[in-house]
Symmetry: C2
Subunit: 243 residues, 2 copies
DNA sequence: CGATTTTCATATGTCTTACATTTAGTGTTT
DNA sequence: AAACACTAAATGTAAGACATATGAAAATCG
């Protein structure tokens, strides 16, 4: 079923790959129990620690979970959107921070994606999502809010917008793009006037969504994108000039 | 710098988390060498196998790489888009297959995202990407092409479209959405007439991109989405009726 | 006889020790 | 001076042992 030609590279990586392929191909079904570590070690003709390293690799991708005890063992995970999103977010964040992706590029991608689900969000928006958006707008207007909290609320606002599309695949893909921007946004200091402008644009978006007006939503998002881009440009220009 | 309160759960998971946080926060820079396994074991007051399991977890996410030999050790990886995409794709694929996501939902998400980068692709399309798209269209017209090869070419066509936007963040995010659809598409059998219609729509997209007409591109994508949806519906309906 | 407690078997989590292998650097020999 | 061998340091792998969690069977008590 799954063998292991011990020729080229790490045994643990090979074993992990073999099991992963079995899961992807469907040979191992969700919630099925893998053989015990000892049995796997015997089957692949390696030691138990080697098998354990392979299992940890899979656990890191949340492909399997392990349980201790008598009926314990390694089980194939049902990979849920909720479980996959944190990984997606950290990966996206690291990609941005490690590859010198410009603020401009990341911002462009983010708003392009958000505009993609604008028509769906406008058509399907629920009272729940609208309420969340309004609540976040209200929070953003609170005095004494730190820049970080302002950014966090901004992210929550946009995620409500995305989730309003009612498409889990879209929500999953966009969570990475939206959340990964937060560290970049945190580098910006928002003046009171900046915040007022952003809040006004947010209100415009919420209004367009409430009115189920897809075109107006897209236009409002474009306006917000331009506002964000010019804001970031001035901040980075000022920072560059100071040195 | 990074400690480990040994209270709740697996030590290896805790250690992996601590190192991961150090990488994300920037305490560990790209290409920096981690302490040796023995030193880490000493620092966290655990055994070497436990440290190794933690390192394997991080290696599975390609956050680190390991080198054997005298100057070997674990090094912080520069997480590249190319390295991250395969993981993104397998995760997306598993999410679709394990969560009973309907063809309709996945298809809707995919085309919504593609329409998002249509304006950018139209504005920035390079001769290279256009040539790839034309080549894939030509391949799709070859007689004797298997359904699987037809689908693979379809994916290549759409990836060229996405890459034409010239935004690596967009390409990364959409690779998952586009590629993860392939197993679902492979369940469809394409008649000659189906293929002819799809190829015609592909040509319409390529023409619109070549003419740098963003609106026409979006419309062509919408037409292709509808064609795909109705095609899938008829296939699934026929399959349901046969039982 | 039934419910509760105890015991036990099993599997993972961890530690210890040891050896194998790879690789860079160094020292010796020709 | 160059080629070779040797060494040291690090990861890769192995084997065995103990700790711990946990469900189920067995034993005990009401």
């Amino acid at each position: 079923m799954k063998i292991d030609p011990s020729k080229p590279a790490d045994l643990s990586a090979q074993i992990a790959g073999a099991i992963r392929d079995a899961i992807i191909s469907g040979s191992l079904i969700v919630d099925e129990r893998l053989p015990s570590e000892a049995e796997l070690a015997d089957h692949f003709d390696v030691s138990r620690p080697t098998v354990r390293e392979a299992l940890k690799r899979l656990a890191a991708q949340s492909l399997i979970r392990t349980q201790r005890g008598a009926t314990g063992g390694a089980f194939v995970n049902r990979l849920s959107f909720e479980a996959a999103q944190p990984q997606q977010i950290t990966t996206s964040t690291l990609l941005l921070s490690m590859n010198a992706v410009s603020f401009e590029t990341a911002c462009e991608a983010r708003y392009a994606l958000e505009r993609a689900c604008a028509p769906l969000s406008a058509a399907r928006r629920s009272p729940d999502h609208l309420a969340t958006m309004r609540a976040e707008i209200h929070r953003q207007g609170q005095p004494g809010l730190t820049d970080e909290a302002f950014c966090a609320s901004d992210v929550a606002f946009h995620r409500a917008l995305v989730d309003g599309a009612g498409n889990p695949v879209l929500s999953y893909q966009l969570a990475g793009a939206v959340e990964a921007m937060q560290p970049l946004m945190n580098m910006i200091t928002f003046t009171a006037r900046d915040r007022a402008r952003i809040i006004a644009l947010h209100e415009g978006i919420a209004d367009a969504i409430e009115a189920q007006d897809a075109i107006a939503t897209a236009e409002a998002l474009t306006a917000l994108e331009q506002e964000t881009q010019t804001l970031a440009q001035s901040v980075f220009a000022a920072r560059a000039a100071r040195r």
